[in-house]
Structure formats: C-alpha cells, structure tokens
C-alpha cells in the first residue's frame, strides 16, 4: 500500500505543481526528478458463461485505457507466474512481487439474465501486492466495498471496460477517471482548397465514430456540455456563420440566440446552464453570455478590439478570453459581472492581461479544477499548447509543433486534448497530453480531424 501511495503522491506533485503531504520517499522522487509509472498487472478477465473472446476484449480495453495515461506500466502477461487467478480468492502475492507489479487487478465477465433480458456484468477486485491486502472501493453511497460491478447491454461491452478503467484509475489516483467519455470533433476530408468539415463524435479511445452533419456546410469548434448530452458549435449552414446547439439524445440542432450578425467561439459554462459566445458586428467582436433556459443574453465586453474565445471559471465568477486590445492577441481575465478587478500586473481594470511571454496567445480554456488555464501559443513560427495560472504565473508549455491548436480538458482536468499539423502541409490529427507533458499520444481517427472537445463522464 505504501509504495503505491508514494508513487501516486509523486504523481500528484507532477500534476498540480503543489506539494502534497510529504513523506521522505516522496521528497527523493521530487529532487531526482525521476517519474516512475506504477507497474500494474491485469490478467485476462475470467469468462463466466460468456464467450472468452468478450472477456479478453474487455481486459484489453482496460489495459489500453490505463496504459494511455502514462501513469501505469502494464506487466506483460508472458511474465505472469500465477496463471490461475480467481476474483473470489486472494492471489499468491509472492508471485506478483517477483515480477514487480505494485497492483493486481482480477476481474470476471459474466452473462446475467434480468427480466428476460441477457445482460453483461463486469466485476473487478484490486490487490495491493506489496501491502498484501485488498484495495477496497467506495461505492456511490460512500460505503466501502470489496470490488466493483458494472451491468449493461452486451452491445455496450466497451463501456463496461471503460467503467472498470475509471474505477481503477480513480482508486489509484484519488481523481475521477475520464475513460467512459466521448470526444466530439471536426472530421476533415478532401483537398486543402476544398475541405469538407463534419461534426463527428467518438468514444474517448477512438471507437464508435459517428458523423452528426453531412458535410454540405462547414462546421467548426464544437464544445461538449459539462452536464448534458449537448454540443455547441459554429456552422455555416444558412450562409451566415452562427452558433448552434445540438441535442445528442434527440438528434436535433437549433440556432442559438437571435443575434443579428455572425456568432462563433462558443463554450458552455461549467454548470452547463449558459453558453458564452462571440458576436462580430461591423468589424468588432465582443463576448456575450446566454442563459439556455430563458434564451436571454447579455453582452460582457464592449471594447473596440477583438474579444473572443471566452471560457468561464468553474465557479462562474470569472471569464478568461482572447483579445488584441493591447496590440497583439493575449489572454485577459474579467469578472463575469463586469466589475473592475485588481490586476496581477498592478492597477484596477475591467479586464486584466495575464500573458506577458513572447508570442501570441489564444483559445484559453479554464480547467474544470479551476487552477489552470490551457491555451494555444504562437511564437517564432511554432505553435504550443500550454497552461498558465489564473493570475498569470507559472506558464508551462506542454507541446510544440508546426501547428498545435485548440486545447480542451478531460473532465477531471488532468489531460488536454488538442489538434496538430506536425509539419507544413500535414493533415490535422487529434492528440492528447497529460499535465506533466510526458504522456503525449495521438488519438487515431478514420479521417483527418481537428477541434476535439471532451464530454463529461457518462452516467
């Protein structure tokens, strides 16, 4: 137990930049700057009354989910000594210590009949190998349980796997998982001078791609509601570019608001009840906020400069946005009620500039955890995805390429997805990076892809 805690304590430091409650071992890790992913063993889940192929597939998805985080290293099955694990029985800890697995996950997949319907049930237990004890889970009511079980329709077997991954991730890191989520994005095809851009949605691991628009008109910059199965995005359907709302359950879209001119760059508020967007009129872009229930909107900025890409803090009190009011695109923070605030650089103003590094900053997105703002930075002919404190301190660049653009956060605020054109003329691809910048991965899509945005955890 202690060893797992230590590694993940170090992880907490890397993720937040803040010192967790320290132990001696932890300090060693930090000063050496060495990050060791936690070794974890996940033998194929036992198939009980189902095709072993299904159990194997679920186990593989779980392994792939966890490995994708960069926080865990999966012990290869060829190294396993004990091959007769059983979810009901404690493992032979010595066999797992020898192959240096800190944690061992034992699972099963079975077929269950409920009201005449055949369902699939996935179960797991997790063992602390060095502590030689069962790692208990908290269930939804907060009670400690010996393992987790998930029940679903057989066709949703991938979701059972992602739920299991989320349970393991959450138990080991103390954070919510982000595997049972979806990503909405723009699927691109065709030559550069006649690109077709469609709204698309897929599971967070790239499975189950669906296209939501036909490609007859261009759509851009989708964002997921943090609380509902809704997407907001910008579309050229009807000629004038406007912000739309798409209801995934009903499969219906509608224009958002009754704006006279073009609207773009939408984002939901953290509680999902409002959408912030930009209206451009007569050459001046300003930020508005619309209540989704009343459909009343309010203008937040009145500056003659470009004000766009608004993102609200999780508590709803502040808005970070992109403005060129200082002569080049930079990030500014204002109070959501428009009242003056004390700026980090001194003085009071309606909006305070928070970026002062060399280069141009745009597309700020407030972390769901509230402590950081992700952005796109352009400097010296290169593009970067980075994060910065809400007071403008602690800027860190996580990625760099010919074009890295458009960050959005995983719902737990630990991973950032964005799109990349790796070199001049390269096709856009979806990528993700964790907050340490260490785990940089491509999300494979069937077509070229851009503008990824993450859903909340599915219910």
């Amino acid at each position: 137990m202690s060893r797992i805690k230590t590694v993940l304590g170090a992880l907490a430091f890397w993720l937040t930049g803040a010192m967790p409650l320290a132990s001696a071992q932890l300090e060693v890790n930090i000063s050496t700057g060495v990050f060791e992913p936690t070794p974890i063993a996940i033998p194929d889940f036992e198939a009980k009354g189902v095709d072993p192929e299904i159990a194997s597939q679920i186990s593989e998805i779980v392994r792939s989910d966890l490995e994708s985080t960069g926080l865990f290293v999966l012990t290869p099955p060829s190294a396993f000594i004990q091959t007769d694990v059983n979810i009901e029985v404690a493992p032979r800890f010595a066999d797992w210590k020898i192959i240096k697995s800190d944690a061992l996950v034992i699972g099963s997949v079975e077929s269950v009949l409920r009201d005449g319907t055949e369902l699939l049930r996935g179960s797991l237990r997790m063992w602390d190998v060095y502590g030689e004890e069962l790692m208990r889970f908290e269930d939804e009511s907060g009670a400690l349980v010996s393992g987790r079980r998930f029940l679903t329709k057989p066709e949703d077997l991938r979701r059972i796997a992602h739920k299991i991954s989320d349970a393991i991730y959450s138990r080991l890191t103390g954070e919510d998982g982000y595997f049972d989520t979806r990503i909405v994005y723009i699927a691109e095809s065709g030559p550069k001078l006649a690109r077709v851009k469609r709204l698309a949605i897929m599971d967070s691991d790239g499975a189950n791609v669906q296209y939501l628009t036909s490609g007859r008109y261009t759509v851009l910059t989708p964002r997921f509601s943090p609380t509902a199965q809704q997407i907001t995005y910008m579309s050229y359907e009807g000629g004038i570019p406007r912000v739309y709302l798409y209801d995934l359950q009903r499969g219906r879209q509608e224009v958002l608001g009754d704006f006279r001119s073009m609207t773009f760059a939408p984002r939901f508020s953290a509680d999902g009840s409002r959408v912030l967007l930009t209206e451009a009129e007569s050459g001046n872009s300003d930020i508005h906020i619309m209540d989704l229930r009343t459909r009343q909107s309010r203008r937040l900025t009145t500056h003659p400069a470009i004000d766009t890409s608004p993102s609200m803090s999780p508590d709803g009190r502040e808005v970070v946005f992109n403005s060129d009011r200082g002569g080049s695109p930079q990030l500014y923070i204002m109070n959501a009620d428009g009242s003056p605030r004390a700026c980090p650089s001194g003085g009071r103003d309606i909006a305070c500039r928070i970026t002062f590094g060399t280069g141009r900053y745009s597309t700020p997105v407030w972390s769901p955890r509230g402590d950081l703002i992700a952005f796109t930075k352009q400097s010296g002919g290169r593009f970067y995805i980075g994060v910065i404190g809400t007071d403008g301190s602690g800027e860190r660049l996580l990625t760099e390429s010919y074009l890295d653009e458009g960050p959005d956060w995983s719902p737990n605020g630990r991973v950032i997805t964005f799109f990349r054109e790796g070199r001049p003329g390269a096709a856009p691809e979806l990528w993700s990076v964790d907050l340490t910048g260490r785990s940089l991965r491509r999300l494979v899509t069937p077509t070229d892809a851009s503008d990824p945005a993450w859903s909340p955890l599915l219910p």
């Binding site: 550069k192 000629g239 760059a265 451009a280 458009g406 503008d451």
Partner: protein, 186 residues
C-alpha cells in the same frame, strides 16, 4: 466578307445607273445599247474603307457589367499584410475600381468575405476575417456604394486559395474577396 461583296455589287449597280442617265439619247434604231457596264467606275477605294469600319466594333473582351468583366477588368480580391486589417495602397486602388464599377451597375449586390492565413487559431481568425471584410465594406461605402448592397462574412482560415504552407501562399490567403451575388449582366 460576304456582306462586303454584296454591298460592292449594289454600289456598282448604283454607279451603273448614274452612268446611264448621263449618256446622250440613243438613236431610235434598235441596236445593241451601249453596254452599261462599259468603263464602270473602278471600285472606289474609299468605299472599302467605309465597309471595313464596323469590324473593330465587334466586342473582344467580357460583356460589360458581367461577372467576368468584374473579375478581369476590376479585380475581386484585395490582400492584407500579416495580422493586419489596414488597407494597402494596392488594395485601395482595387477597391476604387470596384466602387466605380458598382456605381455603373447599380443592380449588383455583393458579399465581401474576409480570409486569413493558417498561422493563427480558428477562433481568432474568424474575428480577424470579419474585421477585414468590414474594412473592405466600409471603404466601398466611403466611396459611395450603398451599404444595403453589401453583405459581409468571415471564413477565418477555412477558405485558402493557395495550398502551400509558405509566406507566398499565406500572403495570398490573407484577403478580402468581393463576390458578386446578384445583378450582374450575363
């Protein structure tokens, strides 16, 4: 050419008639009349010149007031400097021609699109493109074009006209594009 020959023939006839009326009265004897065509006036040079005159009038360029006329003789696009929305001298002279042309063809309605190069984010470029489109519109209005004839749209960096990823392509992709939507001759 056929027209030329026919016209010469009728002229020859005319001269013939004139020649006849100036001949002395003939003897009453039935004789072969003096041939009318004796010594016809030579085809007069000036006549040929007159006949050739219509030829250069046949129009060689695009139909005046047409989309092609606008594209070829006026210019559809003005170009912007990096991250700029200020009109250059070149852009102003193109827009002056556009305004004059639009003054001649009052039924024409236009859509001005603002475009950006790929070296910026989508959202910022949508705002910048909108600003460029409106700078073009405002200048045309200053030059006397009725604002009711001008719509604007921003395509940000979504509609490049040059596929490259170098400065020359980016320069072409930073533009204001005046598109005729209705009212042109065809």
């Amino acid at each position: 050419m056929r027209r030329l020959m026919m016209t010469s023939g009728s002229l020859a006839l005319l001269f013939g008639v004139v020649a006849c009326s100036t001949t002395p009265p003939p003897a009453p004897v039935v004789e072969e009349p003096e041939p009318v065509i004796v010594e016809p006036e030579p085809e007069p040079e000036p006549v040929i010149e007159v006949i050739e005159e219509p030829e250069p009038v046949v129009p060689a360029g695009p139909l005046a007031g047409s989309l092609e006329d606008f594209q070829v003789n006026v210019g559809e696009r003005v170009f912007f400097d990096l991250d700029q929305y200020v009109l250059t001298e070149d852009a102003r002279s193109v827009l002056q021609r556009q305004a004059a042309w639009l003054g001649s063809y009052a039924d024409v309605k236009i859509l001005v699109a603002g475009n950006c190069d790929e070296r910026g984010t989508r959202e910022y470029n949508l705002a910048l493109g909108e600003r460029r489109a409106n700078v073009v519109k405002d200048y045309l209005v200053d030059l006397g074009v009725d604002p009711a004839r001008i719509e604007t749209v921003s395509y940000g960096k979504e509609r490049p006209i040059a596929a490259g990823s170098d400065e020359s392509a980016w320069a072409l992709n930073r533009n204001g594009f005046t598109q005729i939507v209705s009212g042109a001759a065809s």
